[in-house]
């Protein structure tokens, strides 16, 4: 029932000085209706670098208005002033843990432009890298979800396991992450047999550690109580709001770019799409947890069926070492527009490169990151939940502002 307060409630002054992306009369309307505006973020233990303007009535969230762009780095504009090859470290930066997938999308756009045929071995190595980064991102998101639920152990375990991923990346590429390892035409260096064996064993070690993580966090009754039937997105809603990636699959839609238009070695390996029906926070979490095991399977298959051969296409150069500048320094794409779809860890990632055919820098680079795509669904799923569920849903979506803001 509605409780009327006769006391005139004035909206506080600071709301005007905060440059909120909402009109002034909205704030007045909120205070007239004796709702409550809570500004979560951009610097808040329970939010990424994004301000969420939460309108609550009692404990129930009426509406959430996002204020993204706090970590906007104008990546697309920066990309217009650099050589094509120099953009590779740049496009990795939006999602640090997910660097290989971003790198892959950009590089594939260049390859479609120059129609380079990538050798098989390079494809397999790329697939391993992409899947390692996918696991790393899922673990990272699980950790963030855990700490949002106040479960510090659940925060530490995935980061501990992620250390092994970083080690594997370091052994393969030479950097713990943002390893600008994927270049047009292949990869920068060949990966020897010992490292591959090590990664193969590491996958099992990761699985063992995930068991104890499952006991203490995934199947934790309090976690289940917090996440189940929270932030439900039905199948139609998820499609309507353009949710992508695991979060779309959690609502029962079998869509995965790796299946729809397979790009690297994903045709050679066998794996299946993980889906769930509930579409609630717990389903979103479980889908990603199961995807981790799928990715581990993919990595093992890739390593066991790793073909021999070149690691970089002979159209570029016979050996990257030493020829890097001559091969890529003055790369000019034929005029046109080249788009690639990649399944990044958090969903569909779109790269578009527009080239004018003359200059050695891109005319336009368009990056549409998954975070930006499912932000709307995230906001919609918050309506009608309790204030404490804000963080639970946030974690269940694994929203990553730097990725969305680019």
């Amino acid at each position: 029932m509605e409780i009327k307060i006769d006391v005139p409630v004035e909206p506080p002054k600071e709301l005007e000085t905060l440059f909120l992306p909402i009109p002034k009369d909205y704030v007045e309307d909120v205070y007239k209706k004796d709702d409550f505006l809570i500004l979560v973020g951009p610097q808040h233990p329970g939010s990424g670098h994004m301000r969420l303007i939460v309108r609550v009535k009692g404990d129930i969230i009426q509406e959430v208005i996002p204020d993204p762009g706090y970590v906007h780095r104008s990546m697309e504009k920066l990309a217009e002033n650099r050589l094509y090859i120099q953009n590779i470290p740049l496009v990795e930066r939006p999602a640090i843990m997910d660097s290989a997938n971003f790198n892959l999308g950009y590089v594939r756009a260049i390859e479609t432009a120059l129609d380079i045929e990538v050798p098989e071995r390079a494809k397999f190595i790329r697939t391993i890298l992409a899947e390692l980064c996918r696991i790393g991102t899922h673990l990272y998101d699980a950790a963030i979800l855990a700490v949002f639920l106040g479960h510090t152990t659940g925060f530490m375990y995935p980061f501990g396991i992620r250390e092994l991923i970083c080690e594997a990346l370091a052994r393969m590429t030479g950097a713990r992450f943002t390893s600008s390892f994927i270049i047009p035409g292949g990869v920068r260096r060949d990966v020897d047999e010992r490292t591959l064996r090590w990664v193969y064993d590491a996958t099992f070690a990761i699985e063992r550690r995930l068991k104890s993580f499952e006991r203490i966090f995934i199947k934790n009754p309090t976690v289940i109580a917090r996440l189940r039937e929270v932030g439900v997105l039905s199948k139609d809603e998820a499609i309507l709001y353009g949710v992508v990636g695991p979060f779309l699959r959690a609502s029962g839609v079998e869509y995965d770019t790796r299946i729809v238009e397979p790009y690297e070695a994903y045709e050679e390996v066998t794996w299946d799409i993980v889906t769930a029906d509930e579409g609630d926070g717990y389903a979103r979490f479980l889908v990603r947890v199961n995807e981790v095991s799928q990715s581990l399977g993919i990595i093992r298959q890739c390593i066991t069926s790793m073909p021999e051969g070149r690691y970089v296409s002979e159209q570029i150069c016979d050996d990257v070492k030493g020829n890097f500048f001559d091969a890529y320094g003055n790369l000019v794409l034929p005029a046109g527009e080249y788009t690639t779809l990649t399944e990044a860890a958090r969903g569909t990632l779109l790269f578009t490169i527009v080239s004018d055919g003359e200059s050695n820098v891109p005319y336009r680079v368009r990056i549409v990151t998954p975070g930006w795509l499912y932000l709307r669904g995230f906001m919609e799923s918050l309506k009608g939940e309790r204030l404490a569920d804000l963080q639970a849903i946030y974690g269940s979506f694994g929203y990553f502002p730097p990725e969305a803001d680019r």
């Binding site: 050589l83 120099q86 953009n87 590779i88 470290p89 030479g174 064993d201 070690a205 009754p221 799928q294």
Partner: protein
């Protein structure tokens, strides 16, 4: 593949509680600790780890490739007896594009990944400092490595210290030489001559006064034996008539 349903029966609920408590106490008694106490024990990293960049001055042909490929604009070419790179570690992102670009293997990466600088000025590492690894103060008494098998993942601590090696790979590249493919359209601007760091391109039969005026007519540009194939003249030539050709 669907994710499996979680049963809501109180029995299963209780079992999960028991699992949690069991796991917690197990870890409390025998923890699977993986923390590395960093300054005292150093982690073993692979040799190809991208770390501090080391320059071999004798090999460097000052071709400016590293400075031009650097995505972060961190490399500047300073002049000593010739042009040599110097890395600004406030900007460097350790992508090692420069190392990959170096045609003679003068630049090479080391697996020294933890550098401390006293001030921002020190982070602009000079060429002289780049020629060897910086002075290292070792606090570490032992080396740690992640030992991974199919069954387990643990830390192995070994007493001997890890040696911070420099991974030197000399790329297999045929020596190149500047070559003029269309002499008829040479402007005679002598840009190639001026940009050449090794004075490999010389001009004959007409002299240039101090004001830079050319006296005489019908000059000859010459690529001498000194050319190391850095390709600067190729990039400089306004008519794009120079190329690099492999010498056999």
């Amino acid at each position: 593949m669907k994710v499996e349903k979680i049963s809501r029966s109180p029995i299963a609920e209780l079992k999960r509680h028991v699992d949690v408590i069991q796991e917690a106490f197990k870890q409390a008694l025998i923890p699977d600790r993986i923390t590395i106490e960093y300054p005292r024990e150093r982690r073993k990293y692979p040799d190809n780890l991208r770390g501090f960049i080391v320059l071999d001055k004798s090999k460097c042909i000052s071709c400016f490739r590293c400075a031009q490929i650097c995505p972060a604009n961190a490399i500047q070419m300073g002049f000593y007896d010739n042009f040599y790179p110097s890395v600004d570690y406030t900007k460097c992102i350790f992508c090692h594009f420069c190392v990959e670009s170096c045609p003679t293997g003068a630049l090479s990466g080391s697996n020294l990944h933890d550098m401390a600088f006293k001030s921002l000025e020190d982070m602009k590492v000079k060429t002289t400092q780049m020629m060897r690894l910086p002075t290292i103060i070792r606090e570490d008494k032992q080396t740690v490595e992640y030992f991974v098998t199919k069954r387990e993942w643990r830390l192995v601590r070994r007493k001997e210290l890890e040696d911070l090696s420099v991974l030197r790979i000399i790329p297999k590249i045929k020596p190149k030489r500047a070559f003029c493919e269309e002499p008829e359209s040479c402007l005679g601007c002598r840009q190639c001559m001026e940009v050449c760091p090794h004075d490999a391109i010389v001009m004959e039969r007409c002299e240039v006064t101090l004001e830079g005026e050319v006296v005489g007519k019908g000059c000859i540009l010459k690529v001498t034996e000194k050319c190391v194939g850095c390709g600067l003249c190729v990039r400089q030539c306004p008519m794009k008539i120079l190329t690099l050709k492999e010498v056999e």
